[in-house]
Amino acid sequence: MIRKLLVTVLFGLLLHLPPVSAEDVVMARSNLPFPEAMLALQESIRAHGYTVARVQRVDIGLTGMGYKTDKYRIVFAGKLEEIRKLTELAPQLIPYLPPKISIFAEGEQTVLVTVHPKLYAGIAGAAVDPVIFERWANDLQSIFHDVRMAE
Protein backbone atom coordinates (compact mmCIF):
# COMPACT_ATOMS: atom_id res chain seq x y z
CA MET A 1 0.00 0.00 0.00
CA ILE A 2 2.80 2.39 0.87
CA ARG A 3 4.27 1.63 -2.51
CA LYS A 4 1.05 2.40 -4.26
CA LEU A 5 0.74 5.62 -2.35
CA LEU A 6 4.25 6.53 -3.33
CA VAL A 7 3.50 5.85 -6.96
CA THR A 8 0.47 8.10 -6.76
CA VAL A 9 2.46 10.86 -5.13
CA LEU A 10 5.06 10.55 -7.86
CA PHE A 11 2.37 10.73 -10.51
CA GLY A 12 1.00 13.78 -8.80
CA LEU A 13 4.41 15.36 -8.82
CA LEU A 14 4.65 14.66 -12.52
CA LEU A 15 1.76 17.02 -13.01
CA HIS A 16 3.88 19.75 -11.45
CA LEU A 17 6.62 19.49 -14.06
CA PRO A 18 6.76 22.46 -16.39
CA PRO A 19 4.83 21.55 -19.51
CA VAL A 20 6.72 20.98 -22.72
CA SER A 21 6.25 24.08 -24.84
CA ALA A 22 3.46 23.87 -27.36
CA GLU A 23 5.34 25.78 -30.01
CA ASP A 24 6.38 24.18 -33.27
CA VAL A 25 9.69 25.96 -33.07
CA VAL A 26 11.58 25.28 -29.84
CA MET A 27 13.99 27.95 -28.68
CA ALA A 28 16.21 28.73 -25.73
CA ARG A 29 18.44 31.61 -24.71
CA SER A 30 21.60 31.06 -22.72
CA ASN A 31 23.49 33.71 -20.78
CA LEU A 32 26.74 32.09 -21.85
CA PRO A 33 28.76 33.57 -24.66
CA PHE A 34 28.81 31.49 -27.81
CA PRO A 35 31.86 29.23 -27.30
CA GLU A 36 30.78 28.16 -23.82
CA ALA A 37 27.17 27.65 -24.85
CA MET A 38 28.34 25.54 -27.77
CA LEU A 39 30.41 23.41 -25.44
CA ALA A 40 27.52 22.99 -23.02
CA LEU A 41 25.22 22.00 -25.88
CA GLN A 42 27.52 19.33 -27.23
CA GLU A 43 28.25 17.97 -23.76
CA SER A 44 24.59 17.67 -22.99
CA ILE A 45 23.78 16.07 -26.34
CA ARG A 46 26.39 13.41 -25.62
CA ALA A 47 25.26 12.97 -22.03
CA HIS A 48 21.80 12.15 -23.39
CA GLY A 49 23.29 9.34 -25.46
CA TYR A 50 23.33 11.01 -28.88
CA THR A 51 26.27 11.34 -31.22
CA VAL A 52 27.19 14.76 -32.56
CA ALA A 53 27.48 13.90 -36.24
CA ARG A 54 28.71 17.23 -37.49
CA VAL A 55 28.99 20.89 -36.67
CA GLN A 56 28.38 22.98 -39.75
CA ARG A 57 29.33 26.63 -40.11
CA VAL A 58 26.79 28.52 -42.12
CA ASP A 59 28.31 31.95 -41.87
CA ILE A 60 31.53 31.65 -43.83
CA GLY A 61 31.46 34.38 -46.44
CA LEU A 62 28.83 36.39 -44.61
CA THR A 63 31.06 38.75 -42.67
CA GLY A 64 32.00 40.41 -45.94
CA MET A 65 28.33 41.20 -46.47
CA GLY A 66 27.93 43.06 -43.19
CA TYR A 67 27.10 40.14 -40.96
CA LYS A 68 28.91 41.00 -37.73
CA THR A 69 29.26 37.61 -36.13
CA ASP A 70 30.95 34.49 -37.33
CA LYS A 71 29.13 32.61 -34.62
CA TYR A 72 26.38 30.73 -36.35
CA ARG A 73 26.51 26.95 -36.44
CA ILE A 74 24.26 24.00 -37.08
CA VAL A 75 24.75 20.97 -34.85
CA PHE A 76 23.58 17.62 -36.30
CA ALA A 77 23.04 14.82 -33.82
CA GLY A 78 21.37 11.46 -33.54
CA LYS A 79 21.66 7.80 -32.62
CA LEU A 80 22.71 5.53 -35.45
CA GLU A 81 20.18 2.77 -34.73
CA GLU A 82 17.32 5.25 -34.48
CA ILE A 83 18.28 7.06 -37.67
CA ARG A 84 18.62 3.72 -39.52
CA LYS A 85 15.25 2.55 -38.28
CA LEU A 86 13.54 5.81 -39.23
CA THR A 87 15.03 6.03 -42.72
CA GLU A 88 13.86 2.46 -43.25
CA LEU A 89 10.33 2.82 -41.86
CA ALA A 90 9.63 6.39 -42.94
CA PRO A 91 11.80 7.40 -45.90
CA GLN A 92 9.86 10.66 -46.26
CA LEU A 93 11.60 11.74 -43.05
CA ILE A 94 15.05 11.42 -44.63
CA PRO A 95 15.48 15.08 -45.60
CA TYR A 96 15.00 15.99 -41.93
CA LEU A 97 17.60 13.55 -40.64
CA PRO A 98 19.78 13.61 -38.67
CA PRO A 99 17.96 16.20 -36.55
CA LYS A 100 19.71 19.53 -36.09
CA ILE A 101 19.87 22.45 -33.72
CA SER A 102 20.97 25.89 -34.84
CA ILE A 103 23.00 27.90 -32.37
CA PHE A 104 24.01 31.52 -32.81
CA ALA A 105 25.36 34.46 -30.86
CA GLU A 106 23.07 37.33 -29.89
CA GLY A 107 25.37 39.90 -28.34
CA GLU A 108 26.91 38.32 -25.24
CA GLN A 109 24.27 35.63 -25.18
CA THR A 110 23.50 32.61 -27.29
CA VAL A 111 20.26 31.42 -28.86
CA LEU A 112 19.32 27.83 -29.72
CA VAL A 113 16.56 26.97 -32.18
CA THR A 114 15.11 23.74 -33.49
CA VAL A 115 11.80 22.29 -34.63
CA HIS A 116 9.65 20.37 -32.19
CA PRO A 117 10.09 16.59 -32.68
CA LYS A 118 6.30 16.15 -32.74
CA LEU A 119 6.55 17.49 -36.30
CA TYR A 120 8.64 14.49 -37.26
CA ALA A 121 5.91 12.28 -35.85
CA GLY A 122 3.46 14.02 -38.16
CA ILE A 123 5.71 13.49 -41.17
CA ALA A 124 6.52 9.87 -40.34
CA GLY A 125 2.85 8.96 -39.96
CA ALA A 126 1.56 5.60 -38.75
CA ALA A 127 4.65 3.64 -39.83
CA VAL A 128 6.58 4.76 -36.76
CA ASP A 129 5.67 4.43 -33.09
CA PRO A 130 5.51 8.06 -31.91
CA VAL A 131 7.17 7.06 -28.64
CA ILE A 132 10.55 7.72 -30.20
CA PHE A 133 9.63 11.33 -30.96
CA GLU A 134 8.21 11.81 -27.49
CA ARG A 135 11.56 10.68 -26.14
CA TRP A 136 13.34 13.10 -28.46
CA ALA A 137 11.08 15.90 -27.28
CA ASN A 138 11.86 15.14 -23.64
CA ASP A 139 15.57 14.86 -24.31
CA LEU A 140 15.48 18.10 -26.26
CA GLN A 141 13.74 19.89 -23.41
CA SER A 142 16.32 18.52 -21.04
CA ILE A 143 19.25 19.44 -23.31
CA PHE A 144 17.98 23.01 -23.70
CA HIS A 145 17.48 23.15 -19.96
CA ASP A 146 21.10 22.07 -19.43
CA VAL A 147 22.36 24.80 -21.74
CA ARG A 148 20.18 27.42 -20.05
CA MET A 149 21.47 26.39 -16.64
CA ALA A 150 25.12 25.93 -17.59
CA GLU A 151 27.52 28.47 -16.10
Binding site: M1, K4, L5, T8, V9, F11, G12, L13, L14, L15, H16, P18, P19, V20, S21, A22, E23, D24, V25, M27, R29, N31, T51, V52, A53, R54, Q56, V58, G61, L62, G66, Y67, K68, T69, Y72, I74, F76, G78, L80, I83, R84, T87, Q92, L93, I94, P95, Y96, P98, K100, S102, F104, A105, E106, G107, Q109, V111, T114, V115, L119, I123
Partner: protein, 370 residues
Protein backbone atom coordinates in the same frame (compact mmCIF):
# COMPACT_ATOMS: atom_id res chain seq x y z
CA UNK B 1 -0.82 20.68 -25.81
CA UNK B 2 -0.07 20.51 -22.08
CA UNK B 3 -3.83 20.46 -21.52
CA UNK B 4 -4.50 17.29 -23.52
CA UNK B 5 -1.30 15.86 -22.15
CA UNK B 6 -2.52 16.35 -18.63
CA UNK B 7 -5.89 14.87 -19.46
CA UNK B 8 -4.41 11.71 -20.87
CA UNK B 9 -2.10 11.43 -17.93
CA UNK B 10 -4.95 12.03 -15.52
CA UNK B 11 -7.14 9.40 -17.11
CA UNK B 12 -4.28 6.90 -17.06
CA UNK B 13 -3.86 7.57 -13.37
CA UNK B 14 -7.59 7.30 -12.73
CA UNK B 15 -7.60 3.93 -14.44
CA UNK B 16 -4.82 2.63 -12.26
CA UNK B 17 -6.50 4.08 -9.20
CA UNK B 18 -9.82 2.32 -9.86
CA UNK B 19 -8.07 -0.98 -10.26
CA UNK B 20 -7.21 -1.05 -6.57
CA UNK B 21 -9.70 -3.28 -4.81
CA UNK B 22 -9.28 -2.11 -1.29
CA UNK B 23 -11.66 0.84 -0.95
CA UNK B 24 -9.90 2.51 1.94
CA UNK B 25 -6.65 2.31 0.16
CA UNK B 26 -8.36 3.62 -2.91
CA UNK B 27 -9.84 6.58 -1.10
CA UNK B 28 -6.53 7.43 0.46
CA UNK B 29 -4.78 7.16 -2.86
CA UNK B 30 -7.38 9.28 -4.53
CA UNK B 31 -7.09 11.83 -1.80
CA UNK B 32 -3.34 12.08 -2.14
CA UNK B 33 -3.74 12.30 -5.86
CA UNK B 34 -6.31 15.07 -5.60
CA UNK B 35 -4.07 16.96 -3.20
CA UNK B 36 -1.31 16.86 -5.80
CA UNK B 37 -3.66 17.92 -8.55
CA UNK B 38 -5.13 20.67 -6.42
CA UNK B 39 -1.63 21.85 -5.67
CA UNK B 40 -1.05 22.61 -9.36
CA UNK B 41 -4.28 24.49 -9.70
CA UNK B 42 -4.02 26.60 -6.57
CA UNK B 43 -0.37 27.61 -6.81
CA UNK B 44 -0.11 31.13 -8.24
CA UNK B 45 1.62 31.00 -11.61
CA UNK B 46 5.19 32.25 -11.54
CA UNK B 47 5.41 35.16 -13.98
CA UNK B 48 9.20 35.23 -14.10
CA UNK B 49 9.33 31.52 -14.86
CA UNK B 50 6.63 31.77 -17.53
CA UNK B 51 8.37 34.71 -19.11
CA UNK B 52 11.64 32.77 -19.19
CA UNK B 53 9.97 29.78 -20.84
CA UNK B 54 7.82 31.56 -23.40
CA UNK B 55 9.23 35.00 -24.09
CA UNK B 56 12.88 35.42 -23.08
CA UNK B 57 14.37 33.77 -26.14
CA UNK B 58 12.94 36.47 -28.36
CA UNK B 59 12.59 39.46 -26.06
CA UNK B 60 15.66 38.90 -23.87
CA UNK B 61 15.88 37.76 -20.23
CA UNK B 62 15.45 41.34 -19.06
CA UNK B 63 13.27 42.50 -21.90
CA UNK B 64 15.97 44.29 -23.82
CA UNK B 65 15.01 42.74 -27.13
CA UNK B 66 16.37 40.27 -29.67
CA UNK B 67 14.28 38.51 -32.28
CA UNK B 68 11.49 40.56 -30.64
CA UNK B 69 11.30 44.27 -29.78
CA UNK B 70 12.40 45.54 -26.33
CA UNK B 71 9.71 45.30 -23.63
CA UNK B 72 11.47 46.80 -20.63
CA UNK B 73 12.03 50.36 -21.89
CA UNK B 74 10.25 52.83 -19.56
CA UNK B 75 8.89 54.70 -22.60
CA UNK B 76 7.26 51.50 -23.88
CA UNK B 77 5.76 50.54 -20.53
CA UNK B 78 4.37 54.07 -20.07
CA UNK B 79 2.66 53.92 -23.44
CA UNK B 80 0.76 50.63 -23.18
CA UNK B 81 -1.94 49.48 -20.77
CA UNK B 82 -2.30 45.98 -19.39
CA UNK B 83 -5.09 45.13 -21.76
CA UNK B 84 -2.74 45.82 -24.68
CA UNK B 85 -0.14 43.47 -23.19
CA UNK B 86 -2.68 40.74 -22.46
CA UNK B 87 -4.22 40.91 -25.92
CA UNK B 88 -0.82 40.99 -27.59
CA UNK B 89 0.16 37.79 -25.77
CA UNK B 90 -3.14 36.11 -26.65
CA UNK B 91 -3.36 37.19 -30.30
CA UNK B 92 0.31 37.52 -31.21
CA UNK B 93 1.13 39.36 -34.41
CA UNK B 94 0.05 37.09 -37.27
CA UNK B 95 2.77 36.87 -39.91
CA UNK B 96 5.22 38.96 -37.85
CA UNK B 97 7.01 36.28 -35.79
CA UNK B 98 5.33 37.11 -32.45
CA UNK B 99 3.32 33.92 -31.70
CA UNK B 100 -0.23 33.79 -30.31
CA UNK B 101 -0.19 32.14 -26.89
CA UNK B 102 -3.63 30.58 -26.87
CA UNK B 103 -2.84 27.74 -24.48
CA UNK B 104 -1.85 29.96 -21.55
CA UNK B 105 -4.52 30.47 -18.88
CA UNK B 106 -5.72 33.94 -17.87
CA UNK B 107 -3.82 33.72 -14.59
CA UNK B 108 -0.65 32.83 -16.44
CA UNK B 109 -1.02 35.72 -18.86
CA UNK B 110 -1.64 38.07 -15.91
CA UNK B 111 1.46 36.76 -14.17
CA UNK B 112 3.58 37.46 -17.26
CA UNK B 113 2.12 40.96 -17.51
CA UNK B 114 2.97 41.69 -13.85
CA UNK B 115 6.47 40.41 -14.43
CA UNK B 116 6.87 42.82 -17.36
CA UNK B 117 5.40 45.68 -15.29
CA UNK B 118 7.89 45.02 -12.52
CA UNK B 119 10.74 46.15 -14.76
CA UNK B 120 9.58 49.75 -14.50
CA UNK B 121 8.04 49.43 -11.07
CA UNK B 122 5.41 51.95 -12.14
CA UNK B 123 1.66 51.35 -12.26
CA UNK B 124 0.14 50.61 -15.65
CA UNK B 125 -1.30 53.58 -17.51
CA UNK B 126 -5.02 53.54 -18.25
CA UNK B 127 -6.37 54.70 -21.60
CA UNK B 128 -10.03 55.43 -22.22
CA UNK B 129 -11.74 53.31 -24.88
CA UNK B 130 -13.22 56.27 -26.72
CA UNK B 131 -12.57 56.11 -30.46
CA UNK B 132 -10.76 59.03 -32.06
CA UNK B 133 -12.40 60.57 -35.08
CA UNK B 134 -9.90 62.10 -37.48
CA UNK B 135 -9.65 62.65 -41.20
CA UNK B 136 -8.55 59.28 -42.63
CA UNK B 137 -7.55 60.67 -46.03
CA UNK B 138 -5.35 63.37 -44.54
CA UNK B 139 -3.94 60.83 -42.10
CA UNK B 140 -2.94 58.58 -44.97
CA UNK B 141 -1.09 61.40 -46.66
CA UNK B 142 0.77 62.16 -43.45
CA UNK B 143 1.49 58.47 -43.02
CA UNK B 144 3.10 58.26 -46.46
CA UNK B 145 5.43 61.15 -45.73
CA UNK B 146 6.19 60.67 -42.02
CA UNK B 147 5.84 57.00 -41.21
CA UNK B 148 6.10 54.79 -44.30
CA UNK B 149 9.91 54.95 -44.40
CA UNK B 150 10.06 52.88 -41.23
CA UNK B 151 6.64 51.22 -40.92
CA UNK B 152 6.22 50.44 -44.65
CA UNK B 153 3.87 51.91 -47.27
CA UNK B 154 0.88 49.92 -46.06
CA UNK B 155 1.98 49.81 -42.41
CA UNK B 156 3.33 46.30 -42.93
CA UNK B 157 6.35 46.96 -40.70
CA UNK B 158 10.07 47.14 -41.37
CA UNK B 159 11.82 44.21 -42.97
CA UNK B 160 13.12 41.81 -40.31
CA UNK B 161 11.96 42.15 -36.71
CA UNK B 162 13.10 43.20 -33.27
CA UNK B 163 16.64 44.12 -32.34
CA UNK B 164 19.78 42.50 -33.61
CA UNK B 165 23.34 42.36 -32.51
CA UNK B 166 24.70 40.45 -35.42
CA UNK B 167 23.94 42.44 -38.53
CA UNK B 168 24.01 46.01 -39.73
CA UNK B 169 20.52 47.26 -40.34
CA UNK B 170 19.00 50.58 -41.13
CA UNK B 171 17.39 50.91 -37.71
CA UNK B 172 18.54 49.49 -34.38
CA UNK B 173 14.96 48.38 -33.71
CA UNK B 174 12.78 47.35 -36.62
CA UNK B 175 9.47 49.23 -36.76
CA UNK B 176 6.52 46.92 -35.94
CA UNK B 177 3.70 46.25 -38.39
CA UNK B 178 0.82 48.66 -37.74
CA UNK B 179 -1.61 47.10 -40.23
CA UNK B 180 -1.29 43.86 -38.29
CA UNK B 181 -4.61 42.48 -37.01
CA UNK B 182 -2.97 41.45 -33.72
CA UNK B 183 -1.68 44.99 -33.12
CA UNK B 184 -4.94 46.66 -34.13
CA UNK B 185 -7.02 44.36 -31.94
CA UNK B 186 -4.76 45.04 -28.95
CA UNK B 187 -4.18 48.78 -29.30
CA UNK B 188 -6.79 51.41 -28.39
CA UNK B 189 -6.96 54.69 -30.31
CA UNK B 190 -5.82 56.57 -27.22
CA UNK B 191 -2.80 54.32 -26.80
CA UNK B 192 -1.79 54.95 -30.42
CA UNK B 193 -2.28 58.69 -29.96
CA UNK B 194 -0.15 58.68 -26.82
CA UNK B 195 2.63 56.83 -28.68
CA UNK B 196 2.57 59.37 -31.52
CA UNK B 197 2.59 62.29 -29.09
CA UNK B 198 5.33 61.00 -26.81
CA UNK B 199 7.34 58.74 -29.10
CA UNK B 200 9.28 55.96 -27.40
CA UNK B 201 12.52 57.29 -25.95
CA UNK B 202 15.34 54.84 -26.54
CA UNK B 203 13.91 53.67 -29.90
CA UNK B 204 13.82 55.21 -33.38
CA UNK B 205 10.14 56.09 -32.77
CA UNK B 206 10.10 59.80 -31.97
CA UNK B 207 7.48 62.22 -30.75
CA UNK B 208 5.60 63.73 -33.67
CA UNK B 209 4.43 66.68 -31.60
CA UNK B 210 8.08 67.58 -31.20
CA UNK B 211 8.52 67.04 -34.92
CA UNK B 212 5.93 69.68 -35.69
CA UNK B 213 2.66 67.81 -36.28
CA UNK B 214 -0.47 69.28 -34.68
CA UNK B 215 -2.89 67.51 -32.33
CA UNK B 216 -5.32 67.32 -35.25
CA UNK B 217 -2.67 65.77 -37.54
CA UNK B 218 -2.06 63.14 -34.92
CA UNK B 219 -5.77 62.35 -34.64
CA UNK B 220 -5.88 62.01 -38.42
CA UNK B 221 -2.96 59.57 -38.28
CA UNK B 222 -4.68 57.51 -35.59
CA UNK B 223 -7.77 57.26 -37.78
CA UNK B 224 -5.66 56.29 -40.78
CA UNK B 225 -4.03 53.47 -38.79
CA UNK B 226 -7.42 52.35 -37.48
CA UNK B 227 -8.72 52.22 -41.04
CA UNK B 228 -6.21 49.46 -41.78
CA UNK B 229 -8.20 47.19 -39.47
CA UNK B 230 -10.01 44.25 -41.00
CA UNK B 231 -13.19 43.58 -39.07
CA UNK B 232 -13.08 39.92 -40.17
CA UNK B 233 -10.09 39.09 -37.98
CA UNK B 234 -10.79 35.98 -35.95
CA UNK B 235 -7.47 35.61 -34.19
CA UNK B 236 -6.23 32.94 -36.60
CA UNK B 237 -3.43 33.64 -39.00
CA UNK B 238 -5.23 33.80 -42.36
CA UNK B 239 -3.14 31.78 -44.80
CA UNK B 240 -1.35 29.02 -42.94
CA UNK B 241 -0.09 26.59 -45.56
CA UNK B 242 -0.99 22.95 -45.50
CA UNK B 243 1.99 21.88 -47.51
CA UNK B 244 3.57 18.47 -47.81
CA UNK B 245 6.65 18.31 -45.60
CA UNK B 246 8.95 16.96 -48.31
CA UNK B 247 9.52 17.15 -52.02
CA UNK B 248 10.24 13.68 -53.47
CA UNK B 249 11.00 13.04 -57.14
CA UNK B 250 11.96 9.75 -58.74
CA UNK B 251 15.11 9.75 -60.86
CA UNK B 252 15.45 7.62 -64.01
CA UNK B 253 19.24 7.57 -63.49
CA UNK B 254 21.49 5.58 -61.20
CA UNK B 255 22.43 7.03 -57.83
CA UNK B 256 25.84 8.20 -59.03
CA UNK B 257 24.47 9.71 -62.20
CA UNK B 258 21.78 11.52 -60.27
CA UNK B 259 24.35 12.97 -57.87
CA UNK B 260 26.45 14.21 -60.81
CA UNK B 261 23.40 15.72 -62.51
CA UNK B 262 22.48 17.50 -59.30
CA UNK B 263 25.96 18.98 -58.96
CA UNK B 264 25.73 20.48 -62.42
CA UNK B 265 22.25 21.73 -61.90
CA UNK B 266 23.21 23.40 -58.58
CA UNK B 267 26.03 25.28 -60.17
CA UNK B 268 23.84 26.44 -63.02
CA UNK B 269 21.50 27.93 -60.38
CA UNK B 270 24.40 29.94 -58.88
CA UNK B 271 24.82 27.75 -55.85
CA UNK B 272 28.11 26.69 -54.43
CA UNK B 273 28.42 23.00 -53.59
CA UNK B 274 29.78 22.89 -50.05
CA UNK B 275 30.21 19.16 -49.81
CA UNK B 276 28.80 15.74 -50.59
CA UNK B 277 28.59 13.08 -47.90
CA UNK B 278 26.53 10.20 -46.61
CA UNK B 279 23.51 10.73 -44.40
CA UNK B 280 25.15 8.62 -41.71
CA UNK B 281 28.35 10.65 -41.77
CA UNK B 282 29.62 11.17 -38.25
CA UNK B 283 27.16 8.72 -36.71
CA UNK B 284 29.18 5.68 -37.65
CA UNK B 285 32.85 5.03 -38.37
CA UNK B 286 34.02 6.30 -41.71
CA UNK B 287 33.55 3.68 -44.43
CA UNK B 288 30.66 2.02 -42.55
CA UNK B 289 27.99 4.48 -43.72
CA UNK B 290 25.04 3.40 -45.80
CA UNK B 291 26.25 4.39 -49.27
CA UNK B 292 22.74 4.52 -50.66
CA UNK B 293 21.88 7.79 -48.91
CA UNK B 294 23.91 10.68 -50.27
CA UNK B 295 23.54 14.31 -49.22
CA UNK B 296 24.62 17.32 -51.27
CA UNK B 297 25.06 20.45 -49.19
CA UNK B 298 25.04 23.71 -51.06
CA UNK B 299 24.74 27.41 -50.43
CA UNK B 300 24.29 30.82 -51.99
CA UNK B 301 25.65 33.55 -49.72
CA UNK B 302 23.47 36.32 -51.00
CA UNK B 303 20.37 34.26 -50.42
CA UNK B 304 21.64 33.15 -47.02
CA UNK B 305 22.36 36.70 -45.97
CA UNK B 306 18.91 37.86 -46.97
CA UNK B 307 17.29 34.95 -45.22
CA UNK B 308 19.17 35.63 -41.97
CA UNK B 309 18.14 39.29 -42.12
CA UNK B 310 14.50 38.25 -42.42
CA UNK B 311 14.64 35.84 -39.53
CA UNK B 312 17.79 34.89 -37.61
CA UNK B 313 16.21 31.53 -36.81
CA UNK B 314 16.37 30.24 -40.39
CA UNK B 315 19.42 28.16 -39.53
CA UNK B 316 17.00 25.25 -39.33
CA UNK B 317 16.78 25.37 -43.14
CA UNK B 318 20.53 25.54 -43.57
CA UNK B 319 22.70 24.66 -45.30
CA UNK B 320 20.53 23.93 -48.32
CA UNK B 321 20.51 20.24 -48.98
CA UNK B 322 19.32 17.61 -51.42
CA UNK B 323 19.35 13.93 -50.52
CA UNK B 324 19.60 11.14 -53.07
CA UNK B 325 18.35 7.76 -51.89
CA UNK B 326 18.48 4.35 -53.50
CA UNK B 327 15.81 1.91 -52.33
CA UNK B 328 15.46 -1.37 -54.13
CA UNK B 329 15.68 -0.51 -57.80
CA UNK B 330 14.44 3.04 -57.30
CA UNK B 331 16.46 6.23 -56.99
CA UNK B 332 14.73 9.17 -55.35
CA UNK B 333 15.72 12.79 -54.89
CA UNK B 334 14.37 14.40 -51.73
CA UNK B 335 14.42 17.77 -50.01
CA UNK B 336 12.55 19.42 -47.22
CA UNK B 337 9.68 21.54 -48.48
CA UNK B 338 10.65 25.12 -47.55
CA UNK B 339 6.98 26.16 -47.65
CA UNK B 340 6.15 23.60 -44.97
CA UNK B 341 9.00 24.62 -42.66
CA UNK B 342 8.28 28.28 -43.19
CA UNK B 343 4.69 27.87 -42.06
CA UNK B 344 6.01 27.12 -38.55
CA UNK B 345 7.63 30.52 -38.16
CA UNK B 346 4.72 32.96 -38.38
CA UNK B 347 6.74 35.23 -40.64
CA UNK B 348 5.24 36.55 -43.89
CA UNK B 349 8.60 37.77 -45.22
CA UNK B 350 10.07 34.34 -44.65
CA UNK B 351 7.12 32.76 -46.49
CA UNK B 352 7.99 34.93 -49.48
CA UNK B 353 11.66 33.95 -49.43
CA UNK B 354 10.68 30.30 -49.07
CA UNK B 355 8.42 30.47 -52.10
CA UNK B 356 11.51 31.51 -54.02
CA UNK B 357 13.50 28.72 -52.44
CA UNK B 358 10.76 26.24 -53.32
CA UNK B 359 10.99 27.31 -56.95
CA UNK B 360 14.75 26.90 -56.95
CA UNK B 361 14.63 23.46 -55.29
CA UNK B 362 12.02 22.28 -57.77
CA UNK B 363 14.06 23.49 -60.71
CA UNK B 364 17.28 21.90 -59.50
CA UNK B 365 15.56 18.57 -58.98
CA UNK B 366 13.67 18.72 -62.24
CA UNK B 367 16.85 19.55 -64.11
CA UNK B 368 18.70 16.63 -62.59
CA UNK B 369 16.00 14.01 -63.11
CA UNK B 370 14.86 14.95 -66.61
Amino acid sequence: MPVTDKFSRTSAICRCVTQLDDTIEMRLTLWVFLMCLFGTVSAAPDGAQLYMTHCATCHGDKGDGGVGVPLSLPAFLESVDDSFLRKTIRLGRPGRVMPAFRALGDAQVDAIVSHIRNWSGKPAPVFPDTPIKGDVQHGKELFASYCAACHGEMGEGGSGTGVTFSRKREQPIIAPALNNPGFLAAASDEMIRYTLQQGRAGTPMRSFLVQGLSEQDINDLVSAIRSMEDSEFTGERPEVTHEEAVIIVESPYTLDETVENLKESLISQNFKLIRTDYLEHGLVEEGQEDKRQVILHFCNFKFLFEALAIDPRVGIFLPCRVTVVERGDKVQVMTINPLYLSSLFNNDDLDEACKEMYGIYSEIIEDATL
